[in-house]
């Protein structure tokens, strides 16, 4: 396991931001934490990154306790924070070379420039970069140490659609390299496309966890939706937790009446359906 979290709690004064969270992230997995603002995503991730001390619970990141901030752990982890800064007058290449010097076995600067989509911007000072380019620099700086585990806290917030595709390609290539990624996001399509497993978190608790394609089905959170046109052409919809029985009865009745069920479809809930249902 790359990350193990058991009974994690975090309070800020009277406000309990994380209220007993359990999850594990396997090595090589892309794991998504989904949830509305204030759900406890960033608190959870920043505890794992070593920025915050937990109030209670067990946490292990690559076998270390992040709260102790061991350097050996920081050498193996890359962090893209929700927001962070960089010297305004440093060039992209200088920044990458400087950060590469922190690590025992950094990646090649040119390679990371390419991977992060910063080709052609190497000698640009960071103050001249656009928001999207700065975000790519965040990625590049997180990857320069060749980390095993990468934390991405809302990595594509504020991106235009094309830039998001670019970031997704970068994250996919991390997965292809065998890296473990812990991703938080507001965007359901992002989790659907990138994550092997997601957890939906709200009010400091995980509500449901699983592969994006399977979430909801079987968990009872959201039912199956069956749609068809009846004999008079009217569209019907029915939600059911037991599609087998429902379809059997529906088709049997239709056959008995000698009707066809035009446009019959059974849809599984999408991640968005599950999310909207759980976090509403």
């Amino acid at each position: 396991m790359a990350i193990e979290v058991r009974g994690l709690r975090k309070s800020y004064g009277d406000n309990e931001a994380v209220r007993g969270v359990d999850f594990s992230v396997r090595r090589g997995e892309v794991y998504g934490l989904l949830g509305p603002n204030g759900a406890g995503k960033t608190s959870t991730v920043e505890i794992l990154e070593g920025y915050r001390e937990r109030t209670a619970g067990e946490v292990s990141v690559l076998g270390f306790d992040p709260q102790q901030r061991p350097r050996a752990l920081r050498e193996r982890v890359g962090i893209v924070l929700q927001s962070s800064g960089i010297y305004r007058h440093v060039t992209v290449k200088e920044a990458l070379e400087h950060f590469a010097g922190f690590y025992p076995d950094p990646r090649d600067v040119d390679e990371v420039v390419e991977l992060a989509g910063l080709r052609g911007k190497e000698s640009a000072r960071t103050r001249t970069l656009s928001g999207g380019q700065l975000r790519r620099l965040d990625f590049a700086l997180a990857l320069i140490g060749d980390p095993e585990l990468i934390f991405l806290d809302e990595p594509t917030t504020g991106f235009d659609p094309q830039a998001r595709r670019g970031a997704w390609d970068t994250i996919r290539s991390l997965k292809a390299l065998g890296k473990t990624v812990l991703l938080t996001t507001h965007y359901l399509d992002e989790a659907q496309v990138l994550a092997d497993r997601v957890a939906i978190i709200k009010d400091g608790k995980i509500l449901v966890e699983g592969a994006p394609s399977e979430l909801g089905a079987g968990s009872g959170a959201v039912s199956y939706r069956v749609a068809w046109r009846n004999g008079s052409g009217l569209l019907n919809q029915q939600e059911t937790d037991d599609p087998t029985t429902f379809l059997h009865e529906l088709t049997a009745a239709a056959l008995a009446r000698g009707e066809k069920l035009d446009s019959l479809s059974v849809t599984r809930p999408t991640l968005e359906d599950v999310y909207m249902e759980l976090t509403a």
Binding site: E49, Y51, L81, H98, F102, G145
Partner: protein
């Protein structure tokens, strides 16, 4: 995977501190406005007041150590209050905190950068004092070094402590100047602190810059020894204790929320 991958030893504390220091130096000179305010202003003031007082050696003997004392304050106290606030609020410190860079090496580099500016200014001020203002080479170089060191530690710690109070980048100049400007006027940068009304003199005697300038004046002009400056050293050290305590106590790597 690490069993098969050849791993190199992690860069040492000293190496990392040195690299960070060099980056801070490079970034400093690339930002003309910061370089101007932190570096050129004391020298410009020295040139202006030197010209105004050029007919009176007594005044020149006051202004050269006075500007030297002010330089210690602007290169450490003001510069660190600005820098620490800016790096905290811009999120540079938080990013650094997530890398293998040891916190101590990072802070050492930032402090070293400030102290380099102090040293460079001292050289320029003493050099111009000798060349243009009839102030001889410092008669007490060891005492000079001692007071510069005491001043650097004192005002650096006070600058870091002040940065904890400054809520955001926009208000940093107001906070720093609200302290810096009255401080340099009351503490006798531009005139002999002995000449001011008694209520101001009382305030001045409680402030560390007055005593730093006294010490610098003894080392650079009058040549009176360290033995005569024990009470000045005491006041500076007391402020240093206060500064260090609050510099450590309120330290935050992250931007203030709201």
């Amino acid at each position: 995977m690490s069993a098969l991958t050849a791993t190199h030893p992690a860069p040492s504390f000293a190496t990392l501190a040195w690299r960070q220091y060099r980056l801070e130096r490079r970034m400093f000179w690339r930002n003309p406005s910061a370089a101007f305010f932190n570096f050129m202003l004391p020298l410009l003031l020295l040139a202006m007041f030197g010209a105004i007082f050029s007919s009176n050696q007594d005044d020149l003997d006051v202004i050269v150590p006075g500007i030297a004392g002010m330089s210690v304050v602007s290169t450490t106290f003001s510069a660190l209050a600005y820098n620490m606030t800016a790096m905290r609020e811009n999120g540079v410190m938080k990013r650094m905190r997530g890398t293998p860079m040891p916190s101590g090496a990072y802070l050492l580099a930032i402090a070293g950068h400030s102290v380099t500016n102090t040293a460079l200014q001292m050289v320029l001020i003493i050099g111009s004092g000798k060349l243009f203002f009839g102030v001889d080479w410092p008669p007490q170089p060891v005492e000079l070094l001692l007071f510069v060191l005491l001043g650097v530690v004192c005002f650096a710690s006070l600058g870091v402590a002040l940065s904890h109070v400054i809520p955001n980048n926009e208000s940093a100049p107001a906070y720093v100047n609200a302290i810096f400007l009255p401080l340099i006027i009351v503490s006798g940068v531009f005139y002999d602190a002995a000449d001011v009304p008694s209520f101001l003199a009382g305030i001045a005697q409680a402030l560390p810059l007055t005593h730093l300038i006294d010490g610098l004046s003894a080392a650079m002009v009058t040549g009176s020894g360290i033995d005569d400056q024990i009470s000045s050293i005491g006041v500076i050290v007391a402020w240093t204790v206060f500064g260090v305590a609050f510099a450590i106590r309120g330290f935050s790597w992250e931007a203030r929320r709201n």
